[in-house]
């Protein structure tokens, strides 16, 4: 499966890029995070505390145990601070 992965705010800064396209067999968001953590230190650092990370699947907020089947775009970002 091919996924577009987007990073925002300090996740974007720590990982060093706003988006990338990856091929993965991850079943859930949590599997994908585990896979990313193993890639490089900067990913491991960015995802070291998941309580500070939110995820959206195809632009809808989701949980880390959500399945990735049928998903095209995954976004990771910190808790939102609008208003």
């Amino acid at each position: 499966m091919t996924l577009d992965i987007l990073y925002f705010a300090w996740l974007r800064e720590r990982i060093g890029l706003p988006r990338e396209t990856i091929t993965t067999e991850a079943v859930t968001v949590a599997d994908l995070v585990d896979e990313l953590r193993l890639r490089e230190e900067r990913y491991a650092l960015a995802f070291s505390d998941l309580s500070a990370v939110r995820v959206a699947l195809d632009q809808d907020l989701a949980e880390f145990d959500a399945p990735l089947a049928g998903v095209r775009e995954v976004a990771f970002f910190p808790p939102m601070t609008g208003g």
């Binding site: 925002f8 705010a9 974007r12 632009q59 976004a75 601070t81 609008g82 208003g83």
Partner: protein, 147 residues
Amino acid sequence: MDIRVQEAPFDYGAESARFTDARADIGAVVTFCGIVRNDGGALQAMEIEHYPGMTERALTQIAEEAARRWSLAGCLIIHRYGRMEPGEKIMMVATAARHRADAFAAADFLMDYLKSRAPFWKKEFSGEGAEWVAAKDADEAALGRWG
């Protein structure tokens, strides 16, 4: 329902007037404006990042939910992104209804939800550097008020 996500400044007075004028069907309008606050005097600028596409989608969903909960005759949300200086207007919401209770409650609801459910992130710049604004537990807790 009018939802705008933009980098450019907006004219709060003109937008409020346009939202209100020539409406004989409504009895109440509530407007709210968020401004870049310079608490200790050290803030030089604020930068707001957002998630194009999801931002508009999330704001629309929040406004639709408000319209389901209250009897609204109109709803306006304008939210800026990019770099802003202290005193600049960040965003506004306006709600119109036949009676004030609906307009007040809907505006309150919109603000609570767009603070922690619309994908915006604030970064503050001061002489000491730049720092991402941390989400407040109180903002998340505020959502509990709405069931």
